[in-house]
């Protein structure tokens, strides 16, 4: 009797499972049907007529911030009727996914949080040029490719982020953080996980040369902790476990501050690095018309306003940042992006080994 009952339990479970498989399968079919035109490699005729309104789908792999990415997605969908399938992750995760999908790429547009990484993709000849992008001439020239292979639609600056409850007189210079009063109280993001932290470290080194390592040596001596990606480095400062993030991304600090957290940011007087966030179309894209429209949208007035609302620096020189320091107000090092791109690997290795 008991066995029969148990058997019934099992049967019930299995039935439940099968029912759900059914649902799942139906969902899959719908999904495949939806994406089929986008994915069919060997479509003999390109059905897209340039005069026609856009349709179909667009696969975007985008580095945060999530709220902004979602708003851009919604705005673009409303404007063009194209359905955006978005994968969100850090720059590293996006690159990993692209590497894994290498033999059969699914991505059309890639949005990263690190310029050297995008330069790397460009050097490998993976990006589709789109020099005729609308408003591209208004972009800040240093941040984007002059041949139109990538477009930095936004940027963030790096600064010293601190907890206002724990810090009364914030440090004003990068060297200050090596002083005894900051011993054991400072986090720095891991450059192997945070593209912007890498931009800061390699940007600083590209300006001051090999001697620049003395700064990071003194950080290590003073117990500066290397702590994950940007948010992981910032969180302990919000909760009060640490007092300061060196090379913290500013938009996260502004966002936390606006929410009411006891957080503020200073840009050291000797300069900092502004880390552009580029977007580009992949050569392998099967929806290049949609992809081009997406790039146009990123540089449009509408999307640039969304960028400013997310406390990021707009990529266009004619758009003002909102409730934060503007590009012109932040002193920067004399950075050499080419050197940074070539040396990012060795800098990351040396830095992470120093701080391990």
């Amino acid at each position: 009797m008991r066995i029969a009952k148990q058997g019934m339990m099992l049967a019930l479970t299995v039935c439940m499972g099968i029912g759900l498989v059914g649902c799942g399968a139906a969902g899959n079919n719908a999904k495949t049907a939806e994406t089929a035109p986008a994915n069919s490699v060997s479509a003999p005729v390109e059905p897209q007529d340039t005069d026609k309104k856009l349709s179909g789908t667009l696969a975007v792999y985008s580095a945060g911030p999530e709220g902004l990415a979602n708003k851009i997605k919604e705005g673009f969908e409303a404007k063009t009727g194209v359905k955006v399938e978005m994968f969100q992750g850090t720059t590293g995760k996006i690159l990993a996914r692209m590497e894994a999908e290498k033999s059969n790429p699914a991505v059309d547009v890639v949005v990263l949080a690190s310029l050297p990484a995008m330069q790397g993709l460009n050097q490998d000849g993976m990006l589709l040029g789109y020099p005729e992008a609308a408003n591209a001439d208004k972009l800040i020239t240093d941040w984007s490719d002059k041949d139109g292979h990538y477009f930095s639609y936004s940027a963030s600056a790096l600064g010293i982020v601190y907890n206002t409850k724990l810090v009364q007189t914030p440090p004003t210079s990068w060297e200050d953080l090596a002083k005894p009063e900051w011993k054991g109280k400072v986090n720095i993001p891991d450059p192997s996980l945070s593209g912007s932290a890498l931009d800061f470290i390699s940007g600083y080194l590209s300006d001051v040369g090999e001697n620049g390592w003395t700064l990071f040596d003194s950080y290590k001596q003073n117990g500066v902790a290397m702590a994950g990606a940007n948010q992981e480095a910032l969180d302990p400062v919000i909760t009060g476990a640490k007092s300061v993030v060196a090379a913290g991304v500013d938009y996260m600090a502004y966002k936390a501050k606006a929410a009411g957290e006891p957080i503020d940011i200073v840009y050291p007087k000797e300069g900092s690095v502004i880390s552009p966030r580029p977007a580009a179309i992949m050569k392998t894209s099967k929806n290049s018309d949609n992809a081009k429209a997406f790039i146009d949208y990123l540089i449009s007035d509408e999307a640039q306003k969304l960028v400013a609302d997310a406390y990021l620096l707009p990529g266009r020189s004619d758009v003002e940042a909102k409730d934060r320091a503007n590009t012109s107000e932040i002193a920067t090092f004399n950075v050499n992006w080419q050197w940074m791109n070539e040396n990012s690997d060795s800098v990351t290795t040396k830095f992470t080994q120093l701080f391990k």
Partner: protein, 556 residues
């Protein structure tokens, strides 16, 4: 003597099992090795070797193994007394404890670690209550803190295996020993421990493998204390620029090799020390009564364990999910339920993620149980080389870090020549979960099967039962507890699976785990913690309901 009534079909099943495992498990791993040999589009046999030499592998390998051994020791200390209490004393009536003890295991490891960190860190929750506790902080943020966190996460696993085996050891044997004058400790030493050894070694191996393949705790806690292990190194090469599959796959093969050595040791021990415990005769179990101080000691132990494994991390998780401003710390005015309201708002992304997770895990665990039971029955007591091979392959997913298999799966299922368009669909996610968690069912069912006396099946046969009848009326009912345990385990783990989901989910789709992870990345820690509370809460409630129903049926 014919030991198995299915002998005539055995080889067909064996070939089928090998084919299936070859496609599901081996092929992705082969893709990985293939890639590691083609670092720059050129075939290079020495590439993996060179990679291993370059990347200070010995230190991280040592770290991984040392961590694994320490966690085995600590989980043993935690799980053994509990298993004994729950199998041999009156307290075994309290079935709810089994479910509650699954909570640590259901908690995503990186969430549990976060909980501990929030509790113990400078200006953390503990210090806000007891400022003097700050003296403990440096001691906790060390290797031993990491062992503690991981052991408190993994011990329920060993506990379940040990308790199930203890229940199988029939009271007759102990009574026989007692009649012949064996004292309590004599019985433990000469009867219980030897009979338990095989299960224990299996459990310890799984704990070891789980520990060195774990990514969440090293990624959160380990990174903070500067303790690096194989998985964090592999993950680094796979997920941060510049991507280097060659190095990652080479390191993965070292990890794989060390796990295979452990597997070999385990299989030698368990084949030498496994006994048939479930016979045809009725068993009378004897329970020790736990009155007065004994009961107090038992409950005290259970209470302490629950406090450490659930109390501390969940205090932090729940608190963090209720805080308006995390910078303001603990204060009544700083608490809000708003995050939960936002999370469960109809049509919201978070609610969809939650439903996605449950749907996917139910489907995946059901498929995994069916497949796993079949494979375990094929493996039986793994005597022939073919069975040993099936055993090895079906355990592989547990031996290779999840992220490595996942990359292999992507390489395989997204290859140009792949005719089945599974990649970037829900089906792919289900497939990945099934492959990743197949070893659980296989282990549980195998462990149940190993203790069934073949004479039971022969008896069924002798009395005219045909093969299917014997399977249906004798074998399956006896295997059912193992299958159920496997189902629950797969369900709970796939419900919180993170690493695979991060890489394999179709764009635009989220599960509760990736939602939580994204919230942490975006700085919305409270929303992430609220999601953790809700998804673990629902899982626990479901399991409690299930066990309540099944216990009701037994009473009738």
């Amino acid at each position: 003597m014919q030991t198995n009534s299915f002998r005539s079909y055995t080889w067909i099943w064996l070939v089928l099992a090998l084919l299936l495992l070859g496609m599901l498990v081996l092929a992705p791993l082969m893709m990985i090795f293939w890639t590691s040999l083609y670092p720059d589009q050129n075939f290079d046999l020495q590439a993996p070797l060179r990679n291993i030499m370059q990347s200070e592998v010995s230190q991280v390998l040592f770290n991984s193994i040392w961590l694994g051994l320490c966690v085995i020791a600590a989980t043993t200390v935690l799980a053994f007394p509990l298993a004994w209490i729950m199998a041999k004393t009156e307290l075994r009536r309290h079935k709810w404890l089994d479910i509650v003890l699954l909570i640590p295991f259901m908690t995503p490891p990186y969430i549990g670690s976060m909980g501990w960190m929030l509790f113990m860190q400078t200006n953390g929750y503990m210090e806000q209550f007891i400022p003097a506790a700050s003296a403990l902080t440096p001691a906790f943020f060390s290797f031993w803190g990491m062992v503690t966190i991981m052991s408190l996460h993994l011990f329920p696993f060993l506990y379940l295996l040990l308790r199930n085996s203890l229940l199988q050891i029939s009271g007759n044997m102990e009574e026989a020993a007692a009649v012949h004058g064996g004292g309590f400790f004599y019985r433990i030493r000469r009867i219980i421990l030897p009979l338990l050894l095989s299960s224990y070694v299996m459990g310890a191996l799984l704990i070891f493998v789980k520990t060195i393949a774990e990514f969440g705790t090293p990624a959160t806690f380990g990174r903070k204390i500067g303790f690096y292990v194989m998985t964090s190194e592999i993950h680094k090469y796979i997920s941060s620029w510049p991507i280097d599959f060659g190095k990652a796959t080479s390191l993965a093969s070292v990890l794989l090799a060390s796990c295979l050595v452990m597997w070999y040791i385990q299989s030698v021990i368990s084949s030498r020390y496994s006994y048939r415990l479930v016979g045809g005769k009725g068993t009378v179990s004897k329970y020790a009564s736990v009155k007065n101080w004994r009961g107090f000691v038992c409950w005290f132990y259970i209470g302490l364990l629950l406090l450490a494994s659930i109390g501390v991390p969940y205090f932090s998780i729940i608190t963090a999910s209720l805080l308006k401003l995390r910078g303001e710390g603990l204060a009544w005015g700083n608490l809000t339920l708003q995050h939960y309201a936002d999370l469960l708002a109809p049509g919201s992304e978070s609610l969809n993620a939650l439903l996605n997770s449950f749907g996917l895990s139910i489907v995946a665990s059901t498929i995994a149980v069916v497949l796993g039971t079949w494979l375990a029955l094929t493996v039986q007591r793994s005597r022939t080389p073919g069975q040993k091979l099936v055993d090895l392959f079906s355990l592989l997913p547990n031996t290779v870090p999840g992220i490595v298999i996942v990359v292999g799966l992507i390489l395989l299922w997204n290859a140009k020549w792949m005719p089945i368009p599974l990649y970037n669909t829900y089906g792919m996610v289900v497939l990945t979960y099934v492959i990743l968690f197949l070893p659980y069912t296989v282990q549980y069912v195998k462990s149940s099967y190993g203790q069934i006396d073949p004479m039971l099946l022969q008896a069924g046969h002798v009395f005219g039962g045909r093969k299917l009848y014997v399977l249906r009326r004798i074998l399956l009912p006896l295997l059912l507890p193992g299958m159920l345990a496997g189902w629950m385990m797969t369900f709970t783990i796939s419900n919180r699976e993170l690493v695979a989901s991060l890489l394999i989910l179709p764009p635009g789709m989220k599960t509760s785990a990736t939602y939580i992870f994204a919230q942490f990345e975006q700085g919305a820690v409270s929303m992430g913690m609220a999601m953790a509370v809700i998804s673990v809460g629902i899982t626990t409630a479901l399991l409690l309901a299930m066990s309540y129903i099944s216990s009701k049926q037994k009473v009738e």
